[in-house]
Amino acid sequence: MEVDKGKGEAEETRKVAEADRDTVTLKSSDGKLFEVSKEAAARLSTVLAGMIAGGSIDDNGTDLKQIGSEALENVVDYCNKHANSIPSAALISSSISFNTAPFKEPEEWERKFVDRLSHDALFDLVEAANFLGMERLLDVTCHKISEMMKGKSPDQIREVFNIKNDYTKEELEEIRQELAWAFYDD
């Protein structure tokens, strides 16, 4: 990490200010501060890249009112892990893909990263990734959630997603009859 070259704010006494040029400080909805590599943040999040380029980063903590501290911690953790992992072909190609490259399977560390999260933490992280325009993190978290639906009945899926059934009994029966093959093992 580069040492402060003089652009840093003199009034800042926090140690993190030393790395002012290399990191950005993000503030969660509940007021907690997190440091993240500026390079990684700009590379992985279109929203943060725009804020950095536009100079709207607050050195005392850029307010991210939509993101709670647990989710933001996971975002920052993901960015740091990403910065440390060897750039793979998957990530290089995704940066030049213009949305035409097919989905690349999550890498081992990404899989582990989402596997350790609780359901609630995972759903919060999806929203944070979406809000921050983090395409790869959105890909990995959405992929994990879609995997959670595997082999589950509609009832079980409603339970996981806490969704109320707003179909009538007759409508569901009609679908089950018409597309019986989709419910073969219920």
Binding site: V126, N130, I145, S146, P154, I175, W181, A182
Partner: protein
């Protein structure tokens, strides 16, 4: 407690990632609630689903079957005798997906010539020039003007070895065919399998799945070239004289729960 996903766009992001080789997953998701059904049955969802996954999975194959005695030619009297074959192009599923009306899966007096982009090219039998295009997913049938008869399944295979060639480009940019693998078909098949036939082979492009008939012409082995997984698929009544692999993306369409 509120719903865990507040944004509809996130619901779409997640549902788009459901695996296309598991067609029931999208149907089940569409029956979770009306919002999910709306998301899935939107035409834009299908476009994004296809773009995300790129390679369409094998949902089944069209087995060209014949039944009945068959006609033979009498050289002395210069005439045909016997009874006519019954020809059927039957959709044999390899996933739970089934065409909407199962009896239409049997295209009577038809022979499948090819399948592309989720649609099957059928010809009427006995061999007329009438061509039809059938979409098993939407269950639409179109009659098409006659095309040049250059379409068909790949015919290959000698001594029950499968030679896999692929087009490669050398450092100077010249494209050439290179032998990438030789598969001993019989070594892959179960020991109690019927002997296989090498009259014809079907191949699903882009997926690397071969279709090899058994000698009794009642079933087909599918061989996945990447995993060497072999499965026996039962074609039902009749003798198989050809297969056309069927790949496609099943998504519940706009007519889902329309009534």
């Amino acid at each position: 407690m509120e719903e865990v996903l507040r944004l509809e766009e996130l619901v779409e992001e997640i549902l788009i990632r459901l695996p296309p080789d598991d067609p029931p997953s999208l149907v089940r998701a569409a029956t979770v609630c009306r919002q999910w059904c709306r998301v899935i049955s939107d035409p834009g969802f299908r476009r994004r689903f296809v773009r995300h996954h790129r390679a369409a999975p094998v949902l089944g194959f069209l087995a060209n079957l014949r039944d009945g005695g068959g006609v033979e030619y009498d050289h002395y009297n210069d005439e045909f005798y016997g009874e006519e074959y019954d020809f059927v192009a039957r959709f044999v599923p390899t996933t739970p997906f089934r065409p909407i009306f199962p009896d239409i899966a049997d295209n009577r007096d038809r022979c499948a010539l090819d399948a592309r982009h989720g649609r099957v090219l059928l010809t009427t039998t006995p061999w007329g020039s009438d061509l039809e295009v059938w979409d098993p997913i939407s269950d639409m049938l179109w009659v098409v003007p006659a095309l040049p008869p250059a379409l068909g399944t790949l015919s290959a295979g000698t001594r029950r070895l499968l030679f896999i060639w692929s087009m490669e480009t050398d450092p100077l940019g010249h494209a050439q065919w290179a032998l990438t693998a030789i598969i001993e078909l019989e070594a892959l098949l179960p020991v109690d399998a019927f002997p296989i036939l090498n009259h014809f082979l079907g191949f699903a492009h882009g997926i690397g799945v071969f279709f090899v008939p058994t000698q009794d012409e009642r079933s087909i082995f599918t061989i996945d070239v990447s995993s060497y997984q072999v499965r026996r698929e039962d074609c039902g009544d009749g003798r198989t004289h050809g297969v056309v692999p069927y790949t496609g993306f099943y998504t519940p369409g706009a007519n889902f729960l329309s009534s």
